[in-house]
């Protein structure tokens, strides 16, 4: 799988490239800023672009704008946004239309190599990866007569993983339960929250997020 990286800290960029290289990815572009990334994505689209949200020159929103532009102009390219802070507002912006091929993770997550590489390949394959902080923020949100209280602890765990973009198989591996059990939990959760069951896993992410946000 081909990866493009946009990160202005050399230390981190090199580290990421090495990590991805050793993980079996092909790093096709290393960029310092958003313009360079957009140029390289245009001329040689990778499977996934990993973008630091704060990029030169102003370190304000260049990274996010580049990510949104790639999502708009190159829907086949997955975009994984990395940041020192994860913000719900930005997640909602990134996932405004769909959760397909998009990820938003705290930078710290790269040190959990296995998880991180899993997230990269998930996004590259059109799946999603949302930082657990986003999900927990959404879950902690106070609601009048909260339907989440009707979930069992196990169902809640499944919901968190689901919202973060895990596939049924991923959830099964993580919780060490059978795929069949996961499917049962998922349909139970959807029933309790009153959500229509959806086909693809990334559409499921969006549905859950929309529910959690309201």
């Amino acid at each position: 799988m081909r990866v493009a990286i946009a990160e202005d800290s050399v230390l981190l960029r090199e580290g990421l490239a090495r990590l991805l290289g050793e993980g079996g990815f092909e790093v096709v572009a290393q960029c310092e800023d958003a313009d360079d990334l957009l140029l390289k994505v245009r001329s040689f689209p990778p499977d996934v672009a990993i973008v630091d949200i704060r990029l030169p020159p102003t370190h304000n929103d260049e990274g996010l704008r580049a990510a949104l532009e790639i999502r708009k102009k190159h829907p086949a390219v997955g975009v994984l946004v990395l940041s020192q802070y994860v913000e719900l507002g930005l997640a909602l912006k990134l996932l405004a239309d769909s959760a397909e091929g998009v990820g938003y993770l705290l930078k710290d997550r790269i040190s959990d190599v296995g998880e991180f590489l899993g997230a990269v390949s998930r996004v590259a394959n059109g799946g999603s990866a949302l930082d657990p902080i986003i999900v927990s923020t959404l879950l902690s949100r106070q609601r009048p007569d909260d339907p989440l209280t009707r979930l069992t602890p196990r169902e809640r765990e499944v919901l968190e993983l689901m919202a973060a973009g895990s596939s049924n198989q991923g959830i099964a591996d993580r919780l060490v339960i059978t795929l069949r059990a996961v499917e049962k939990y998922v349909s139970s959760i959807f029933g309790k929250l009153g959500l229509p069951s959806t086909g693809s896993e990334s559409r499921r992410v969006l549905a859950v997020l929309t529910f959690l946000r309201s």
């Binding site: 090495r18 370190h59 996010l64 507002g89 710290d108 040190s111 959990d112 923020t137 106070q142």
Partner: protein
């Protein structure tokens, strides 16, 4: 400073010596002799045009009188002597109505001169000087035509047998010269009218009515002279009537001039009214109006001098520049040797320094109070400005700190933790080393998390990067009660406004969690005519302590530093409502 230059010097009048009283006395005596002479003329002759004589006196006496008054009041202006000369010239021209040949000839020589003098007075008004080369040329040409051509005309025998100055009789040439003389004078007078019109267009209509009237009478006089001379040159109809009308009109000018002076006298009664008004200790803005009424100048501006700031300020304490505006003069008002204020007024008031002085003296204490008031306001403005600057500097510093943490320590720790996990992979065969590396990696992760909280507390970077709507999403999601967030603004606001609005919402939500025991809340940010309004309302117990511990004081400081205001309604049992209005164009 440039502004001080515009202040009119007030000492000029004391430098010029007043006219010699003997001279003035002589002028009065001779002036009185003119009408006496006319009476004598009327008593001794039977075929004299008495109406014309009377009309010439009608010009002579007011001109001499007005000239005397002007000279005494404004010794530095040449206008007074000029008017006296004009009066005498017209008096002399009346001599041509006598039957004594010598007097007749003398009178004839001065026949046309009053017209030139009148033009001179008109163009030299108000300071008695001809300002431009064009004015000087025009007046010189008028004198040349009125005296020079008159002498040529007379020497060619234009006056007939009684003239003593006839050198050779050549009546045809004399008639030609007369044509040239009258037509050129007529043209010069019309040019003078054009000049008056141009001056008015440039300076605008005089703000004082009496002045406007005077200028109009000047213009009318010049037009009448021009018409008279054209009719005279071509022996047109009704010459006699036009001549009488012209003399009548010219005589009006000095009367209007005297009325104008009387008008100024009347203004003194305005000073008395002013003193009465000031006794009521008018508010700062009313003081200007009272002064404007006393000076009869609605355009009057009052500015105070603040020595500490080295600047003039208006009533509100805002700095103003005294520019060189056309048609305006600034007159300085001093008390006990210290400069207190300046009155910026219409140029026309330059003619009445006594009035300005009287008004300035009458308003002295009130102006001093006004100045103190303005100074207080200026200091308040200054303080507000410095509070805003302190806050902004703090904000910038926080931003810089957060940025340094982000680009420095945080990046390095992330890189370090990545390095540790790569190392961990390589230590597959050594479980104990691997365990220790893993432990180290967890420590780094903890540090990162703590650092992240610190950095976020220093400055919410997401606000700078992505604006209020995005930044508030997380705040609201983490709020202790369900919050309905309404953001009625498109795009970004000025940074300071965003930061203040952000803190108003986040502090209020924190307070709700700590004290309110609320079940729900709303937060709204909207724009209404020139303001950003931030409002956070909860349904809790109310009765919040707005002074201590709630952070509301800090919020108010932040909002007020931007010129806005923060209000809190927190009745016991009635919930709490925090509303900030921040100016934002």
């Amino acid at each position: 400073m440039a502004a001080a230059v515009a202040i009119a010097p007030r000492t000029e009048s004391s430098i010029v010596r007043p006219p010699n009283p003997w001279l003035l006395g002589a002028i009065v005596v001779v002036g009185c002799a003119v009408p006496l002479r006319s009476i004598a003329l009327a008593l001794t002759s039977h075929d004299v045009d008495l109406v014309r004589v009377a009309l010439l006196d009608w010009i002579t006496v007011p001109f001499i009188l007005a000239g005397l008054v002007a000279w005494v009041r404004r010794p530095e202006s040449r206008l007074g002597p000029l008017m006296i000369l004009g009066g005498f010239a017209s008096g002399l021209s009346a001599l041509q109505l006598t039957h004594v040949d010598a007097l007749y000839t003398l009178g004839a020589v001065f026949d046309v001169l009053p017209a030139a003098l009148f033009l001179h007075v008109v163009l030299a008004f108000p300071d008695g000087r001809l300002g431009t080369r064009f004015e000087r040329m025009l007046v010189s040409a008028a004198y040349a035509a009125a005296i020079g051509l008159q002498l040529v005309k007379i020497s060619l025998g234009a006056l007939g047998p009684n003239s003593l100055l006839e050198l050779w009789a050549w009546p045809a040439a004399a008639t030609d010269v007369q044509h040239v003389q009258l037509l050129s004078l007529s043209a010069i007078c019309l040019a003078g009218v054009g000049f008056l019109a141009a001056r008015r267009r440039q300076a605008g209509r005089p703000r004082r009515r009496s002045l406007a009237l005077l200028i109009n009478s000047f213009a009318l006089g010049l037009v009448m002279i021009a018409v008279l001379f054209v009719v005279g040159a071509f022996d047109g109809p009704a010459f006699l009537e036009i001549q009488r009308a012209t003399l009548l009109v010219i005589g009006i000018s000095p009367i209007v001039f005297l009325l104008g002076l009387l008008d100024a006298r009347l203004d003194r009664s305005g000073v008395a009214d002013l003193i009465v008004e000031l006794r009521a200790e008018p508010a700062a803005t009313d003081l200007r109006d009272a002064l404007a009424r006393a000076l009869r100048d609605r355009s009057l501006a009052l500015v105070y001098w603040l020595p500490d700031f080295q600047t003039y300020v208006d009533v509100e304490g805002r700095p103003v520049e005294l520019g060189d505006e056309d048609g305006r003069t600034a007159t300085s008002i001093d008390r006990k040797g210290a400069h207190v204020a300046a009155l910026v007024h219409d140029n026309a008031l330059d003619e009445e320094p006594e009035l300005l002085e009287a008004v300035g003296a009458a308003a002295g204490i009130a102006l001093e109070n006004g100045r103190l008031n303005a100074e207080l306001r200026a200091r308040l403005e200054d303080l507000k400005g410095s509070r805003a600057r302190v806050l902004e500097a703090g904000q910038k510093e926080r931003q810089r700190l957060e940025r340094n943490l982000h680009d420095g320590a945080q990046q390095r720790l992330v890189a370090l933790s990545l390095e540790l996990s790569l190392l961990e992979e390589q230590l597959a065969g050594d479980p104990s080393a691997r365990g220790r590396v893993d432990e180290a990696r967890r420590e780094v992760a903890m540090s990162l998390e703590e650092l992240r909280d610190v950095a976020r507390g220093i400055h919410p970077a997401v606000l700078t990067g992505h604006g209020l709507a995005v930044a508030l999403e997380s705040i609201v999601a983490r709020a202790p009660v369900p919050v309905r967030l309404t953001i009625g603004i498109d795009g970004r606001l000025p940074e300071q406004v965003e930061v203040a609005a952000y803190y108003v919402v986040s502090e209020s939500l924190t307070n709700i969690g700590k004290h309110a025991r609320a079940t729900r809340a709303t937060a709204a940010i909207v724009r209404t005519n020139g303001h950003v309004v931030v409002e956070v309302v909860d349904d809790g117990v109310g009765g919040a302590d707005t002074e201590r511990g709630s952070g509301l004081r800090g919020l108010a400081d932040r909002v007020e530093a931007l010129g806005g205001r923060l209000r809190v309604w927190t009745p016991l049992g009635g919930g709490t409502r925090v509303k900030a209005e921040i100016p934002c164009v």
